[in-house]
Amino acid sequence: MSGALGHSATLFALTGAALVGIGLYGFVARTHLLRRVLAFNVIGSGVFLFFGATGFRRPDLGADPAPQALIITGIIVALSLTALALALITRYAALSGRSSLEDEAPDDEAPDAGDERGGG
């Protein structure tokens, strides 16, 4: 089925690697919490793409179903954690009036609700 289309598994594996790098940079270097959630999702989908592409090395066999199943599971879990992170962020923003964790005003310490990486 896929044979007729040719296949570029290596290309997509490299794309996945690049996406992980990009997402990691965003997660480390950007401060707005919402953008960090986006970065976290880019890392996630980069990993999925990498994983999925390595499961598609032999077009004659088709795509390996095992990585596909794990990736579907992963996508849904990533979505639920994104929803949780966004709920935490909106709550934090409502309580503190801020949208990043960087202490611009050192007097008010960020309440622990701001830790988006927790939970799950």
């Binding site: 570029s8 490299l14 690049a18 992980v20 986006l38 999925g52 179903p65 849904i76 639920s80």
Partner: protein, 313 residues
């Protein structure tokens, strides 16, 4: 250069560009828009990798839920908080971070190139066991038979995430209605769209679950579409999402995982936890899928709707 390679190269380039723009940009709404586009491109990439099941999931989540989730979260944050991105690190720190991340990406790329190009992974094993699995779609077989553990635990993780979101509510609102009251003019464009589309969405969602046993599709894809449709009806101001304390809602949330667990327990009595007898496998998988679809739809919709913020409608 075959057209296939040109297409894939262009697709990869656009996905990387969209990801960079989502992360590097100044305008936050622009970032969200780039991220939605990015999800769409990744769904096409899954099609190119012959992973239609994943493409379906990515398309349903990317087109339906992520947009609603991110856009409404952004609007809420911007209404309450300063945009402050002032605290970003200095230039040197950024260069160091970029180098580090380039190193990680490089290591992964090296790993990809070092893989045995003839590696067959688990495909032969799965093809061999598929006749006993009860379903013809190998991905569904892995999800609900061979690796049913993962799927069961995942459905429980979803519930925990929802409980965590609910617990962010003020004490007074516990058990109340999720999010703020959505409203729309009842004879307007938005409401009419919200009245026309859902029946078709319902049919498509059930079709995806039905198709999942032999062809790409399944409970996750169908459940996601259902959740998106339900949220549309709520956004069109036609009906409200139920109270978090509502018993029917809680029953719907727990039904899928509980039924799955019961099936597993019966399997345990017969020998293996979650082991399915080949003769009954198909019927059991279909029943579990139907239950999971309902629970996944309810859980995802309420996850996107957020924590309870009021007690009165």
């Amino acid at each position: 250069m075959t057209p296939a390679l040109v297409f894939d190269g262009l697709l990869a380039l656009l996905a990387v560009a969209a990801a960079m723009a989502a992360i590097g940009g100044r305008d936050l709404f622009g970032s969200v828009a780039f991220f939605i586009v990015y999800g769409l491109l990744i769904a096409i990439a899954w099609v190119r990798l012959d992973a239609i099941d994943v493409a379906l999931a990515e398309a349903a989540i990317g087109a339906g839920l992520t947009g609603i989730l991110l856009i409404s979260a952004l609007a809420r944050v911007e209404r309450t908080a300063s945009s402050g991105e002032s605290g970003e690190g200095g230039r040197l720190a950024k260069i160091a971070a970029a180098l580090l991340c380039a190193g990680v990406a490089g290591a992964l790329a090296w790993a990809a190139l070092a893989l045995d190009p003839q590696g067959a992974g688990l495909t032969p094993l799965i093809s061999e066991a598929l006749p006993q699995a009860g379903v013809g779609n190998p991905v569904t077989a892995v999800l609900l038979n061979f690796r049913a553990y993962d799927t069961l635990l995942e459905s429980i993780v979803l519930l925990f995430a929802l409980v965590a979101v609910w617990s962010l509510a003020d004490d007074g609102n516990w058990g109340g209605l999720p999010g703020l009251r959505q409203h729309a003019r009842s004879d307007g464009v938005l409401a009419t769209f919200g009245r026309l589309l859902p029946p078709f969405g319902l049919v498509v969602a059930v079709y995806l679950v039905w198709a999942g046993s032999e062809n790409p599709g399944g409970a996750f894809q169908g459940g996601t579409v259902l959740a998106a449709i339900w949220l549309l009806v709520a956004m069109a101001g036609i009906t409200e999402l139920p109270r978090v304390s509502s018993l029917p809602l809680r029953a719907a949330l727990v039904f899928g995982p509980a039924f799955f667990l019961a099936v597993g327990a019966i399997g345990a009595l017969a020998g293996t936890f979650l082991g399915l007898a080949p003769a009954a496998a198909k019927a059991i998988i279909l029943a579990v899928e139907a239950g999971l679809t309902l629970s996944i739809a309810a859980t995802l919709a309420l996850l996107v709707a957020g924590s309870p913020q009021r007690t009165q409608g």
